[in-house]
């Protein structure tokens, strides 16, 4: 609904400005298997009718941001799961979106890959100045990534908790063993267990 792909049953979605570039990242990478990494990352620009040179230079920049500059000529079948997810992220970033919607994007990855991608995502978010709405079932992921965490009820999608996460802006993997993260996780978990 936020991406304006479906219509709400009721209520309103208020955004400022009204029209802006949105991108999303799915649970799985969902790349086009017949395209190279570069052509996958350039796809949104291609669909928007951007010229070849411009879209390739932007796609290369986006790939560099997710650390995949080396892999641009490879096909998805030749990449690991984490790399595919990073191509998917580069594809989302290539249009310089104001809003990035992510639906459990790292759920299928192993923990170390996920940890590193989370740090990268925080870093990208800080540099890009975009809004990220990130859906996850992982409490540690929510606490680690979010500035503001919203816990929804199991049914009905009502808001159970809406909290500013009290952690420093700069977050690295060192934070993972920090008691402050544990404290935030405990609060989120408490809200989830009230059901």
């Amino acid at each position: 609904m936020i991406a304006r792909l479906s219509v709400a049953d009721g209520g309103r979605i208020v955004t400022e400005p009204e029209q802006f570039q949105t991108a999303f990242v799915f649970q799985d990478a969902h790349l086009l298997p017949w395209r190279t990494t570069l052509d996958n990352a350039a796809l949104p620009l291609e669909l928007m009718g951007i010229g070849r040179d411009e879209r390739y230079s932007k796609a290369r920049a986006a790939l560099a941001q997710v650390g995949l500059a080396e892999a641009e000529a490879r096909y998805p079948a030749q990449l690991s799961g984490g790399m595919r997810m990073r191509v998917s992220l580069a594809r989302a970033l290539v249009t310089a979106p104001r809003l990035l919607l992510m639906d459990e994007p790292f759920a299928a990855l192993d923990e170390i890959t996920r940890f590193n991608l989370e740090v990268q995502l925080r870093d990208l978010w800080q540099r890009r100045g975009m809004t990220v709405i990130f859906v996850t079932h992982s409490i540690s992921e929510a606490a680690f990534l979010a500035n503001r965490a919203v816990v929804l009820t199991r049914r009905g999608g009502k808001i159970r908790l809406d909290r500013q996460i009290d952690l420093p802006m700069e977050r690295t993997n060192d934070l993972r063993s920090d008691p402050r993260l544990g404290h935030e996780m405990k609060i989120l978990m408490g809200a989830m267990e009230e059901e």
């Binding site: 991406a3 792909l5 949105t22 991108a23 999303f24 799915f26 799985d28 969902h30 086009l32 298997p33 017949w34 796809l43 949104p44 291609e46 669909l47 928007m48 096909y75 998805p76 079948a77 249009t95």
Partner: protein, 250 residues
Amino acid sequence: MKKSWPPLIPFVAITLALEWMVRSGAVPSYLVPAPSAVLRALFDSRDELAAAMAKTSAAALVGFALSTISGIAIAVLLSSSRGIQRAFYPYAVFFQTVPIIAIAPLLVIWFGYGMKTVIASAFIVSIFPVIANTLTGLLSTDPALRDLFRLYGASATVTLVKLRFPAALPQILTGLRVASGLAVIGAIVGEFIGGQGLGSVVDIARTQQRVDKVFAAVLLASLLGLALFGLINLISALTLRRWHASEQGS
């Protein structure tokens, strides 16, 4: 090269066994010819068989090409809306169920004796698997990718060309594999009635009790089917090798 060995072993074994059975008199040669007799028939009638083979190949190829082009076009049309699909798909199934041998005489009335009838027969028999497989492929596009294309404002045509068609390619090629064999069968059936090519050779040799020649013609027809099948496999390997699981590994 190593991979082409295994199928040869049963071929050699069966050929040798057959030769021995016919020579020893266990099987009368007017029922099953000795492989050596088939070989001799191939050699003795080589000009006639080569000309017949050329005609059959041409008809099967043209029929196959027609069903590839129109089959894919029809599938694209059918996939464009649920309504069109409901209204017209049953008629596509008609091609699957039509007993070609029963309508072949009708084809002669429409197209006369010769090439046109044979092509029509090859076409009718081979179009359905192209339609069915292409349609399945076009309708099973990843919904997430469809959303993605919509998000970036891609038109229906662009989505077809850049997403749905390439995504359907593995299924389309499966349809073409099935259709290639059927096109040869359709051509031979058409030739039984339309009177030319390998089908006609089989028909005439049969009335002359020349089982060896029947077998020689049948052998050539199967080789033709195999060659078409091999061609599709080659195209499949070239287009899918980078990305599809069916052409990777080993």
